[in-house]
């Protein structure tokens, strides 16, 4: 088996906001051409992870020392602003949840994409126009001239998202991060966009980090899945294993609560997960999921579980899988 190159290696990424931990030591690896799905409830820190990778943390947020983010071998934590500018929109493309809101409302779409082309590939004038057209075709847009001259509010949600993808591709990225790309779109369009991302991944050999709270979006489109809860990764496995053989109690609960997961949980058997995510910093000393976990034991509240392998390429953060657990 040919080991593919690791495009992104994140090790022990931890972020605090005003003293409270919002990310507590997340580690992940994405290989070339691989799609990693990052899934979890709203507020679990998945978007924060994406922003942290690009060094785009909001005001007041700080990365703890010991965090490491390596893109194609180069360390991004502590890198100069200049280096980060090249990475953002360049080697790493980022697309967001509400494409309409993420486009400058008073600038024509073509010009916004052109900005990225000029910035990362130095293209201007006719050369820029040519590449722009190619990009718009590649993301599946018709009526290219109209789209390029249009303002964002003149395009539909699906077209706006395709335009954003084109913008992300302008810098010839090796990694594409898609943060809830379809949440604001309706089902048919969402499916088209996900297909598009699939196709681009295959054609360009991109690595893809797909972030969603919806397991149905992740399922079937990703090679591997990373489940997050309250700022920590709790389970990491190949996609098939996550759905057939999930180990972490949160993952199983998540699957049981997800509508439309093909063949896994018919809607009539949906079960809600009682309780809520703890506020950052409010998780106490133990496992953050303990208070909502049906399998919780007293020890769960006292110790954060370690990352424990349970099968090939499958690891869990749960006390019951650590050695010495008494059933």
């Amino acid at each position: 088996m040919i080991t593919k190159q690791a495009v992104l290696v994140v090790d022990d990424l931890a972020v605090d906001i005003r003293g409270a931990a919002v990310l507590g030591g997340v580690s992940l690896t994405i290989h070339q051409g691989e799609a990693l799905g990052l899934v979890g409830e709203s507020g679990c820190g998945k978007s924060m992870t994406a922003l942290a990778i690009l060094g785009l943390l909001p005001r007041g947020a700080h990365m703890r020392s010991g965090s490491s983010i390596q893109l194609q071998g180069k360390q991004l934590v502590g890198a100069s602003e200049q280096a980060l500018y090249k990475v953002r929109g360049g080697a790493v493309g980022l697309i967001f949840q509400e494409p309409g809101a993420c486009l400058d409302p008073v600038m024509r779409v073509g010009r916004q994409i052109g900005e990225a082309l000029q910035l990362h590939r130095g293209l201007r004038g006719a050369a820029q126009q040519a590449v722009l057209r190619d990009l718009l075709v590649e993301v599946g847009l018709n009526d290219i001239d109209r789209v390029a001259r249009a303002y964002p509010h003149e395009l539909s949600g699906g077209m706006q998202q395709r335009a954003m993808i084109a913008m992300a591709l302008a810098g010839e990225p090796v990694l594409l991060i898609a943060d809830e790309p379809t949440t604001a779109l309706d089902a048919r369009i969402a499916s088209q966009i996900l297909d598009l991302l699939d196709r681009l991944r295959r054609e360009r050999g991109l690595a893809l980090l797909l972030i969603s709270h919806d397991l149905a979006v992740i399922g079937g489109r990703c090679d591997r899945v990373l489940v997050m809860y309250a700022g920590r990764a709790v389970e990491s496995a190949p996609a098939a294993q996550v759905f057939d053989a999930a180990r972490h109690p949160y993952t199983t609960a998540l699957i049981a609560a997800s509508p439309g997961l093909a063949g896994v949980a018919p809607k009539s058997q949906l079960r809600d997960i009682p309780g809520q995510l703890p506020a950052p910093g409010g998780g106490g000393d133990g496992c953050a999921f303990a208070e909502r976990c049906t399998l919780a034991r007293p020890t769960c509240g006292h110790r954060v579980p370690a990352w424990t392998p349970v099968a090939a390429e499958h690891a869990v953060r749960c006390l019951q899988f650590e050695a010495g657990w008494s059933c």
Binding site: G90, V106, L119, Y151
Partner: protein, 324 residues
């Protein structure tokens, strides 16, 4: 296609402005007729001849039915004929026309001070949000919006004109591209423009700070633009839009301020004319003054409206444009 909408929207704006002006004129006319007391008696004073009284009433058409008076007045208005001043017997429209350039120049100079200073410092303060520079600007503008124009003018006069004799204190030289003319306009323009600059600075700062929190700013950073590039390519233009709409209102305050400044610095503009007319209860002149002032700020608002149409493409698509 897009231009079609732009043209229709612009046309509608112009028509609305014209209609409003006419409505204002009508209202002014009606109000003037409601002023208590007999205007002719006011003009004549205590001892008068009945013949004079009748003559004046006839001259000003005050003995005709109200509707007829209105029709006459309205027709005259459309021809640019605003009647004659009771005080000076001179044509109101001629006087106003003669004095208009001075007032317009004053307002334009004040804008030339207020806009660059206000917008520039607003951007700078927002850029340095939370730091010393921002606090300094906030404090300075707090003072700036609290100072009345006449006090600013008075202090400038005391300092730069009376004490240090850099500029003349009062008076006015007819328009020319000369130091004599402009040296008389510097202090008035500053007195009028500096408080406005403070207001505009705060507006710009607030608008820009709001824009900084918008998703497309974050997306721009994620695209690889530096903070500065994002500010200039995306931030400023979006932040200017709400500010531009408010500047139209600011012109109204500028016109009011012009009256004050004209009185303080003894500039023979429209404001000074109107003020004298009010004190003397010279109705035709007051009417003319009100119309001219209304016309100035309606035109200013129209320009602002059209500017807004041009700046914000989202408004253009609906043919009439929504009211803000």
């Amino acid at each position: 296609m897009a231009h079609h909408g732009l043209l229709i929207s612009s046309g509608l704006r112009v028509a609305t402005a014209g209609g409003t002006l006419l409505a204002v004129a009508a209202i002014v006319f009606i109000l003037m007729r409601f002023v208590p007391g007999d205007p002719v008696l006011n003009w004549l004073g205590t001892s008068y001849e009945k013949a004079d009284y009748d003559r004046l009433r006839a001259l000003y058409g005050l003995d005709l039915p109200l509707l007829q008076q209105f029709m006459i007045w309205f027709v005259n208005l459309l021809q640019g004929e605003l009647g004659y001043s009771v005080l000076t017997q001179l044509s109101v429209s001629e006087e106003l026309w003669r004095r208009l350039p001075a007032t317009l120049e004053l307002i334009l100079l004040a804008l030339a001070v207020a806009l660059p200073l206000g917008i520039g410092s607003g951007i700078w303060a927002a850029w340095r949000y939370g730091k010393m520079a921002d606090h300094a600007v906030l404090t300075a503008t707090l003072l700036g919006i609290s100072l009345p124009e006449f006090f600013v003018g008075a202090i400038l006069m005391l300092g730069l004109a009376l004490q240090w004799r850099i500029f003349p204190a009062t008076g006015f030289e007819p328009f020319a591209w000369s130091t004599e003319h402009f040296s008389h306009m510097v202090l008035p323009a500053l007195a009028l423009g500096l408080p406005r600059a403070a207001v505009i600075c705060r507006l710009m700062r607030g608008s820009l700070l709001e824009v900084f929190g918008r998703p497309y700013v974050r997306a721009s950073l994620a695209k690889g633009l530096s903070r500065k590039m994002t500010l200039f390519s995306h931030g400023i233009r979006n932040a200017l839009i709400p500010v531009v709409t408010v500047i139209g209102l600011q012109v109204g305050y500028l016109v009011a301020g012009a009256v004050v400044v004209e009185k303080l610095f003894v500039i023979p503009g429209v404001g000074a004319y109107g003020l004298n007319a009010v004190t003397a209860r010279d109705y035709p002149s007051v009417q003319g003054f009100i119309l001219v002032v209304a016309a100035i700020f309606l035109i200013a608002n129209l320009i602002v409206d059209l500017l807004y149409l041009w700046l914000d493409p989202r408004i253009r698509t609906s043919a009439g444009g929504a009211s803000r």
